[in-house]
Point group: C2
Chain length 401, copies 2
C-alpha cells in the first residue's frame, strides 16, 4: 500500500466550503487505496489576524506566547477537515504538531524540526484512518509549543514524507513552478520538472512557491515532491533528483526578490576577526543574511555589504549600533529600494558563458548592479528596484524562460 503526504496551504482551506472541497480531494486519494496523511496550514489570513491581536497588546510580544497563539490557527483547520472527512464517512483523526510527534529545537517563531516520532501516525494509518496533521508547529524539549516560521507547513509535510519514506504533494494557489514569477513576467513558462538543487536556489532567492527548508529536507532525504493547484485542475511541477535529461538548458529559472535590504558598513578596520565578528553577531540573533561583498582594503579599511530581509531591519540596526562600541569610525548605510535578481540552472555547470551573457544584458541596457555573487548553479545581482522590470524582461527573453 502506498503512502502519500498531501499539504494544503492557507488559501486552499480559507473557508468552510474550501475545507469541504479539500476533504473531497483527500477522499478521492483514499479511495484509490493509498494511505493518506494531510498537512494543513491555518485558514486564510488567520495567522496574520492572530499576530495583529498580539501586536495590539505589545510591539514585541513574547515569542513563546506568540507561538502558542499562532499554533491555534492550524489546530482549527485540522479539526474542521477531520470533522468534514468523518462526516463523509471516512475515518479520520486530527493531530497537533506535538501529537504527531514533531520535536523541535531552537528559537521560538523560528524553530527547527529535530526529529519526528512517526509511530503514532503510522499506527493510525495502519488502522485505516486518514491522518490530518497541523503544519507549522511542534513542541520543544521543554514541552513548549513552537512554530517553524513562515512557510513552515511545507517543512512539516516534507519532513513527515521523509520519515514515512513516501511522496509529498504540495497543493497551493499556484499551478506549479515557473521559470519566472508570472506576476512579473506574464509569458513565463511553467516547468514540468525541476531538480532539488535548482528549486533550492529558486526558493532561497524568494521564488515564493516553496520554503527553502522544505526543499532542503526533500533533497537530503530524496523525497519526491510535486507542486500543483489544490483543485487538481492542471498538471503541476515535479521536484526530484537531478537527471541528465534536465541539462539541456543553461538556465532553468529567474528569481526576483524585493524582500531584502542592503546594509553597507563603511570603514571597518581590515582584519578577518572584525569581519567575522559582524556576521557572528548577526547569526546569534538568527538574522538570515544572503549576498555578502567586500571592497579591497584601502588605508587599512574595508567596506562590507550584505543583504538581509526587510523584516529583520530592526534587529540589524540594533546589532549595528552595538558594533559602533568596538568600531567608532564605522558608518552604516541602508538601501531599501533594491531588488535581488538571480538566474538558476544546473546547466551552468557544463555550459559556460552565462555570466558573460548576463553582464552584456546589463551593459546593453544600462542597468547598474551593486553586488554580484555566484554559486555553482546560480548568479545573483543586487540592482535598483526601478531597473528590475526591464532586467527581468531582457533576461527572460535572452534565456527563453
Amino acid at each position: 500500500m502506498k503512502t502519500v503526504v498531501q499539504k494544503y496551504g492557507g488559501t486552499s482551506v480559507g473557508g468552510i466550503e474550501k475545507i469541504q472541497a479539500v476533504a473531497k480531494r483527500v477522499a478521492e486519494r483514499k479511495n484509490k487505496g493509498d494511505q493518506v496523511v494531510v498537512v494543513l496550514s491555518a485558514m486564510g489570513k488567520t495567522t496574520d489576524k492572530l499576530i495583529s491581536m498580539a501586536k495590539e497588546i505589545s510591539a514585541t510580544p513574547t515569542r513563546r506566547e506568540l507561538d502558542m497563539l499562532m499554533s491555534t490557527g492550524e489546530q482549527v483547520s485540522i479539526s474542521l477537515l477531520s470533522i468534514a472527512l468523518n462526516e463523509m464517512g471516512y475515518e479520520s483523526i486530527a493531530l497537533t504538531g506535538f501529537q504527531a510527534g514533531i520535536e523541535t529545537q531552537g528559537y521560538h517563531t523560528k524553530a527547527k524540526i529535530q526529529n519526528i516520532d512517526v509511530e503514532k501516525v503510522k499506527n493510525y494509518l495502519n488502522d485505516g484512518k486518514i491522518v490530518v496533521v497541523a503544519g507549522f508547529q511542534g513542541m520543544n524539549e521543554n514541552g513548549d509549543i513552537t512554530t517553524l516560521g513562515r512557510g513552515g507547513s511545507d517543512t512539516t509535510a516534507v519532513a513527515l514524507a521523509a520519515k514515512l519514506e513516501c511522496v509529498c504533494e504540495i497543493y497551493t494557489d499556484v499551478d506549479g513552478i515557473y521559470a519566472v514569477d508570472p506576476r512579473l513576467f506574464p509569458t513565463a513558462k511553467k516547468l514540468d520538472v525541476i531538480s532539488y538543487e535548482e528549486m533550492l536556489e529558486m526558493a532561497s532567492l524568494g521564488a515564493g512557491v516553496m520554503e527553502t527548508r522544505a526543499v532542503e529536507i526533500g533533497q537530503k532525504f530524496g523525497v519526491p515532491m510535486y507542486v500543483a493547484l489544490s483543485s487538481g485542475k492542471w498538471p503541476g511541477t515535479y521536484i526530484k533528483e537531478f537527471d541528465v535529461t534536465m541539462e539541456s538548458k543553461a538556465i532553468t529559472g529567474l528569481s526576483v526578490s524585493d524582500k531584502d535590504l542592503m546594509v553597507t558598513v563603511n570603514h571597518v578596520p581590515y582584519n578577518s576577526q572584525n569581519i567575522s565578528m559582524i556576521f557572528q553577531e548577526l547569526a546569534k540573533k538568527d538574522v538570515n543574511i544572503d549576498m555578502i561583498s567586500q571592497t579591497a582594503p584601502s588605508h587599512g579599511m574595508v567596506n562590507v555589504s550584505f543583504t538581509a530581509t526587510k523584516t529583520d531591519e530592526d534587529i540589524v540596526l540594533e546589532i549595528m549600533e552595538t558594533l559602533k562600541e568596538n568600531f567608532k569610525d564605522i558608518e552604516i548605510d541602508i538601501e531599501r529600494d533594491i531588488t535581488k535578481l538571480s538566474v538558476v540552472g544546473i546547466g551552468m555547470r557544463s555550459q559556460s558563458g552565462v555570466a558573460a551573457k548576463m553582464f552584456k544584458i546589463f551593459a546593453d541596457h544600462n542597468i547598474g548592479f551593486k553586488q554580484v555573487t555566484t554559486s555553482e548553479i546560480r548568479i545573483s545581482y543586487t540592482i535598483a528596484t526601478k531597473d528590475a522590470q526591464r532586467a527581468i524582461e531582457e533576461v527572460a527573453k535572452e534565456f527563453d524562460l
Copy 2:
C-alpha cells in the same frame, strides 16, 4: 507567601482592552506579594463561534475533533494575557491544560479531571512568574485534547486551587451569589457568604453563576472560594465550609431553571429491574437526569417521570425509542414548558415547616406542580412555565430573599 488562583470568565476577556484590564488586576495582586495563577475562559463568544463552524460541516461533529477545535479558544486568551503581562513588565507564562498537567478521563466534550500534576506550575510560581492556565481543557491518557464541558473553566480553577492548597477567586460578570436570580426578581438580596452545600444545590439547580462540579471539588478539598465582579468594584460572595452563624435563615436561596424538559414514560411494567434499565440506558449516554418521580403501581404498571436538560432531548428520544423494543406498550410524553423551582437552605435541617409553607403558597395562589422532590437542604418543584414568575415573587416575599 500566599498563593491565589483567579479565574476570569469569557466576558471578562471579551476583547483586547478587557484582557489588558484583567492584566492590570492580576498585576495588582502580584504586587501585594502573592503568587498568582490565572485561569481563563475563551474570549467572549469564541467557543460558540467555533462550535457553529463545526456544525456547518456536520450536524454531529466527532467529539474528539470538537474538543481539539474548542480548546483553541482558551489557548488564544491565555497567550494574549501572558503577552499583556510581560508587556507590563511582569514575568508571565501561558500553559495549555496539558502543559499545566491537567489529566482527564471520560467522554470527549464532557471529560472529568482525573489528576493535576502541579509540579510545573509550582516551579514557575517559585521562579516568580505569573502562571496563566487555559481553563476548560486537559489531556486524556491517549494524548488527546479533551474539554470539561460548559463552565469547565471554573472546574479547572477550583481543582488547581485544591492541588495548590490555596484560595480560588472566580471573577465574572455578576457581582456575587444572589438569593434569587436578579433577572427574575430584581429586588433579590446578594449573599455575603454561602456554604458549599447550599451553593452546590443552587448550582445544580441552574443558578448559573457557578458550575456544580467546581463547587463539588471546592467542597471536597475545602477550597475557600470567592465570587465577584471582574472589575473588583463591589464585594462579592464567599463560598466556604458551613458555619453556625449561617443557620439563622431557613432558606438561603431560590433557584429557577427553564433548561429542563420533563419526560414521562407511561405504562412501564412494574418491576425494579425495568425502572433501573431506563436510568441505566440514560446514564450510559451521559444524560444528566434530575428530578425523578414514579406513580404507585396500578394493574402492574407504573408511570415514571424525570427531568433532563433540553439540550439532551435528541439523545433522550433516541433512548426512549430503543426502550420500546422491550416494552411495547409504553407511551412517551415530553413536556417542554416546565420550570424547575427550588428553595435551598442549610437552615432547613433545623427549622421545620419550609415544605408546609411552600405547599401553602402554591395552594393560596392556585399554582399547580407536576413533581416535587426533597433533599436534606432543598425542596424542588416542577411547575408550568407560565406560573413561574408568580411563584418566584411569592416565595421570595415569604422567605425574605
